[in-house]
């Protein structure tokens, strides 16, 4: 009897560690070697970039030096210089930092808006849902690119924050819709009704009952959105609607390749930035796909 009890105890101990969503996500990443390598790469590149950027002086890097135009890589300039004699390596580090910062900031801000919007619409349903969804539809039909271009021309000097805000204003809708659908599904379940009969206030039900049950989907959506947002920022900068040249960005470095001379003979200006964008976006996607699989028990590997 005693032994039996002990065994039971051990068994419940074991299984009590399994339900957490975070652990399932983590296990899936470990099982998927590609995702694990990607995650390690991302962590390394982020710490490296943010660490090095602390020791670099942005005003020094973007200072034009006419005596060092188009220098190939050397001991002094590790990745050569661009057409203004500016150090490409420094621009690459600061540019990656800026691109990552914007990507993370936009993802977090859109995420918060989408979570609140989706939870409220999905939990209350009915008229509230209808009104909120029409507001969302309105934002959906606005031409994102055109408005960003107008914004760039009317705001003379913008910072990472203001650029992130304008991107946030037009990038939260897709996620809000996804979260709303999930919240709607979850709110139909009995435990939400039970919480209401037990006298729990609506706000508390939304954030302590519904939210924990959809958060794995939120994490996946945010991870995939991070890759998209970084790509979007680089794309805008590439087109000339992102940051000015005085604020380095991966897209700006890429845009130098629009000059045929640079494209053909001066690979050191654009190639590292291109590879870095590719690797960062691919890695985030790999991690994101692994997380996505983890949320669906049928596709899980781990």
């Amino acid at each position: 009897m005693e032994v039996n009890n002990m065994e039971m105890e051990a068994k419940t101990q074991e299984s009590s560690q399994s339900p957490s969503g975070l652990i399932i996500l983590w296990r899936e990443i470990v099982r998927d070697k590609l995702a694990l390598v990607s995650l390690i790469f991302l962590v390394l590149i982020t710490t490296f970039v943010y660490g090095i950027a602390l020791f670099l002086d942005q005003s020094e890097i973007i200072k034009v030096d006419l005596f060092a135009i188009h220098e190939p890589p050397s001991k002094e300039f590790w990745l050569g210089t661009d057409y203004g004699g500016r150090d490409v390596f420094g621009q690459l580090i600061i540019g990656t930092r800026n691109s990552l910062s914007i990507g993370i900031l936009v993802t977090l801000m859109t995420g918060v808006i989408a979570i609140v919007f989706g939870l409220v619409a999905g939990y209350f349903g009915g008229a509230v849902d209808n009104i909120l969804m029409r507001i969302l539809d309105f934002f959906m039909v606005l031409p994102f690119l055109m408005i960003v271009i107008v914004f760039v021309s009317i705001v003379p000097k913008y910072s990472i924050l203001s650029f992130s805000l304008i991107m946030t204003a037009f990038l939260w809708m897709g996620k809000a819709r996804l979260f709303r659908a999930k919240a709607l599904q979850e709110s139909e379940l009995d435990y939400v009704q039970a919480a209401r009969t037990l006298g729990t206030p609506s706000i508390k039900i939304m954030f302590t009952h519904v939210f924990p049950n959809i958060y794995s989907i939120i994490i996946v959506a945010m991870t995939l959105a991070l890759a998209n947002n970084i790509g979007l920022e680089s794309g805008l900068s590439f087109l000339g609607f992102g940051f000015p040249e005085s604020t380095p960005s991966l897209g700006t470095l890429m845009s130098y390749a629009r000059n045929p001379q640079t494209l053909e003979y001066r690979w050191w200006i654009w190639l590292p930035a291109a590879i870095l964008i590719l690797l960062i976006m691919l890695s985030i996607r790999n991690v994101g796909e692994a997380l996505k699989r983890a949320t669906d028990a049928r596709q899980r590997r781990g």
């Binding site: 339900p19 379940l189 039970a194 009969t197 037990l198 006298g199 729990t200 049950n213």
Partner: protein, 310 residues
């Protein structure tokens, strides 16, 4: 005055249609149900799927919007109260049908059972933990269960957690919505007997919703039989089971299996008799829409939905 009284309750759900989503029609889930429950008794609501028994129960809790009618609890009209006036909820709790979806899978038993306590009673952490352990002991679960998650329990155990949560605030009325229909037959009796035990212990009033007549007969003092949103027959358990008047009730009673093989012939005969009566006299019991008539009182313990000819 009855402890809980429902007067001519109607719950209609709109059917939206057309280009602008206008309301084209209504589904009359509950259509004029009246009942009175005395303190300490068990009132059974019986009916087939979609007969509106669950909707009636949920309307009492305010989970479904009441279209018309009154719900009076302890002399107070609680039909459509909102906000701070919802304090009556403390006294009326529900046991849900599905023990799987009614417990939040991300929460520990401690959090689940203590939720009502946190909402209504200002207790310290230690006191809450103690109360939850007491409640778990009352429903026959070990006090160590508080750190476990719902998925670590069997269906019957989960239903007990639901019961523990429902009785945490010491309610006066519990609406039990098919509390055992999702459970294994071997566990059903266990949960039912336990519910009867705590009824006398905590002086509870049950509204027991079920489609299982055997369970109803075992549990209830008073029964209301519903069909398509209306009452077809209402009365004490004895009156309903020994002297069913409405053909629908007769068919239900005839369908109860008898365990004694010697009675098999008799049962079969009885069932065939009821079936022929049903076929011949359908129009005497239902109106042209196939709905039940208004209830007619035939004795002080029994009323039946019959046309107004008697």
């Amino acid at each position: 005055m009855a402890f809980l009284e429902i007067k001519d309750l109607k719950v209609h759900f709109p059917i939206k249609g057309g280009i602008f989503g206008r309301t084209v029609d209504h589904i009359k889930a509950v259509d004029g149900v009246s009942l009175a429950v005395e303190k300490g008794m068990t009132y059974g609501l019986v009916g087939e799927s979609g007969s509106g028994k669950t909707t009636t129960g949920r309307a009492v809790l305010g989970l479904n919007k009441v279209t018309d009618g009154k719900i009076i609890y302890n002399g107070r009209d609680i039909t459509s109260l909102r906000g701070s006036k919802l304090d009556y909820r403390k006294d009326i709790q529900m046991i849900f049908q599905d023990p799987y979806s009614s417990l939040n899978p991300k929460k520990r038993v401690l959090d689940i059972v203590s939720e009502p306590l946190k909402n209504y009673e200002k207790l310290s952490r230690q006191e809450i933990k103690k109360r939850v352990q007491e409640l778990l002991e009352l429903v026959g679960l070990s006090p160590e269960s508080i750190v476990k998650y719902p998925h670590q329990f069997s269906g019957g155990q989960r239903q007990r957690i639901g019961v523990a949560r429902a009785i945490a605030l010491k309610p006066k009325i519990i609406i039990a919505d098919e509390p055992v229909s999702a459970l294994d037959v071997s566990v059903q009796a266990q949960v039912l007997n336990f519910m009867q035990d705590i009824q006398s212990e905590l002086d509870l009033t049950y509204i027991f919703i079920s489609h299982d007549l055997g369970v109803i007969k075992h549990m209830c003092d008073h029964i209301g039989i519903m069909y398509r949103g209306r009452y077809v027959e209402e009365g004490t358990t004895e009156a309903i089971f020994n002297d069913p008047q409405h053909i629908y009730t007769k068919r239900l009673v005839a369908a109860i299996p008898d365990i004694n093989p010697r009675n098999r012939e008799k049962q079969l005969h009885f069932r065939q008799e009821v079936e022929t009566e049903y076929e011949q006299s359908y129009n005497d019991y239902f109106d042209e829409d196939g709905l039940a008539f208004q209830l007619q009182t035939i004795s002080d313990k029994h009323s039946v939905a019959l046309p107004e000819r008697s």
